[in-house]
């Protein structure tokens, strides 16, 4: 009685080592092989994937769109956007740091070494570093740090000094401290538990860094509260800034207009696509969410 091909979807994604018939395309659909997928703490996991060479051609602030397996037997229909956490060209590896919470990320969390994982990308416009900038400040919270990590890698490669203010609920979840320090960053953990993550305290730190000449540019991701703060300080003190935004996505290519956020440019409000016009935007134009 069996009479039909059972594959519900077509899939011709590229694996590590596959011949690339469309090398001129800047975005690809890839089958990464899971190298490891471990818990970083009770909420976050860290995935390392071995990928096709074309997928390595990506940079800080860009993202991949991930086709997550099902955590419960029923299909997960939409891809999930995820920032590049680290690129290791020598090992042909790409890494993600993610919070395991909804259906997609929980399905992702179930992947084991050797499993395939379909990812599309790299997508979007990432961070840009003005050659004039000698020292930058990154301020992140939660998974926002995942997005800022490769920026630090980039800055480090270009010899730019980094101060990373890492905000978290408690010391147990201060992630990426080692990673940031590995890039030569000075890290300043601020915590909810001891009140150091308060807006007032972080504002003081930011102003202090500007005073010390350590803040040629601001970068943030992951918290609306921190965005507002950095925007305010940046505006007051004339420090340019960039912010990585998030929004629910469908296509990831700029076609569907699902991933809109509001921006204010020269006093006029407008909508931009997070997936293509961003996800990294001029901090002073971002209205937040």
């Amino acid at each position: 009685m069996s009479y039909e091909p059972c594959e519900k979807y077509t899939d011709s994604a590229l694996r590590f080592g596959d011949e690339d018939h469309y090398p001129e395309r800047i975005v690809g659909e890839f089958l990464g092989e899971v190298v490891s997928n471990d818990w970083v703490n009770g909420e976050y996991k860290h995935m390392i994937l071995k990928v096709h060479a074309r997928a390595l051609d990506s940079y800080a602030g860009q993202f991949f769109h991930l086709l997550c397996p099902s955590p419960d037997g029923a299909e997960v229909y939409m891809r999930r956007p995820m920032s590049i956490y680290r690129i290791d060209k020598a090992a042909s590896q790409i890494e993600f740091l993610y919070k395991c919470e909804g259906r997609g990320t929980r399905g992702m969390g179930m992947l084991k070494e050797g499993d395939d994982f379909n990812l599309a990308g790299p997508l979007g416009k990432g961070f840009t570093l003005d050659p004039k900038w000698k020292n930058i400040v990154v301020l992140g919270r939660g998974v926002g740090l995942a997005t800022l990590a490769p920026l630090s890698q980039l800055a480090a490669e270009k010899g730019v000094g980094i101060t990373a203010i890492l905000s978290a609920r408690n010391p147990g979840v201060v992630m990426s401290k080692d990673l940031f320090e590995g890039f030569g960053a000075t890290t300043i953990p601020v915590l909810d538990t001891d009140g150091t993550s308060d807006v007032a305290n972080v504002e003081k730190i930011l102003n202090g860094l500007i005073d010390e000449g350590k803040a040629d540019a601001f970068f943030t991701c992951g918290s609306n509260r921190l965005l507002s703060l950095m925007k305010k300080v940046g505006k007051a003190r004339g420090v340019p800034g960039q912010v990585a935004m998030e929004q629910i996505m469908v296509c990831g290519f700029g076609a569907c207009y699902v991933c809109m956020r509001t921006f204010e440019i020269d006093g006029e409000k407008t909508l931009k696509r997070v997936c293509r016009d961003g996800p990294v935007f001029n901090m002073q134009e971002a209205v937040g969410w």
Binding site: S12, A120, F253, A255, C256, Y257
Partner: protein, 315 residues
Amino acid sequence: MVDLSVRIGDITLQNPITPASGAFSWEYNDVIDLNRLGGLVAKTICREPRLGNPTPRMAETEAGIIQSIGLPGKGIEYFVDHIVPEYARFKPPLIVSVSSENTEDFAALAEELSVPDVDVIEANISCPTRNATGGNFAMHEEHTKEVIGAIRAKTNKPLWVKLSPNAGDIVSIARAAEEAGADALCIANTFLSLKIRTDNFRPALGNKFGGLVSPALKPIVLRMVYQVAKVVKIPVIGIGGVTKAEDVVEYMLAGASAVGIGYAGFRNPTALITIIDDLAAWCDERGIKKVTDLIGAVKDDDMEMDTLVAASAGV
């Protein structure tokens, strides 16, 4: 090698695979070679610049998504000046989808869009997420006839009409569009739907209602294509839930001359190219020389034509 080309009226598509309007843009050239597609279909354009609906514009459902975008765009002038040239760089014919809230403006827009680089006008009379002052022509025979007649009078470009699956009697509406001068029918747009969040008791979309998109819906749309293709003479383009080459075959067997694909391209950005390749391989394996041999080739002669068709049309 099978000949994959199909004719939709005066237009030849090199293969029956086109993207669906709103689920595609020239920006997909980043990931696939647009020159391999059967056609290029632009997102529905309206006269004035529009921001579109409040976010969130998409929510996942049991088996698919609901979306309510609200036809954002920079307006017709920007479209003709800046977006048509983006598509004109590629070889496949450009199908431009257009919508309006009233008949005269719809016809005027079609006229303004009848520039050399536009190959086909697709009248989107069925978008279930039109704004607060808008209507939905494709729910009614007379409205369909009126608006398509008006558009037909203003353009010599091939005119495709996108119908709504929310209509109860798609066959009569298809007939009305044909009589009013449509050159092809696109069946169908999305299914008007609602999702309510059980945490905060609020609709999940910023615009409350949205259009459901899901491979699960293919059997419904396929039934509509089958019913319509039996009674109209113009070509039908099947749109809804195509995710693999066999789905293209199924739509063609039901009477479609081509298909439009949205969802599958979101899930697998390379899907359209894969489907073209798989379709060619499928035909070659079976010794099918021309893909057009599949059109309407369903074997149903020996099945009584029961009154279901009539029933769905209301007996």
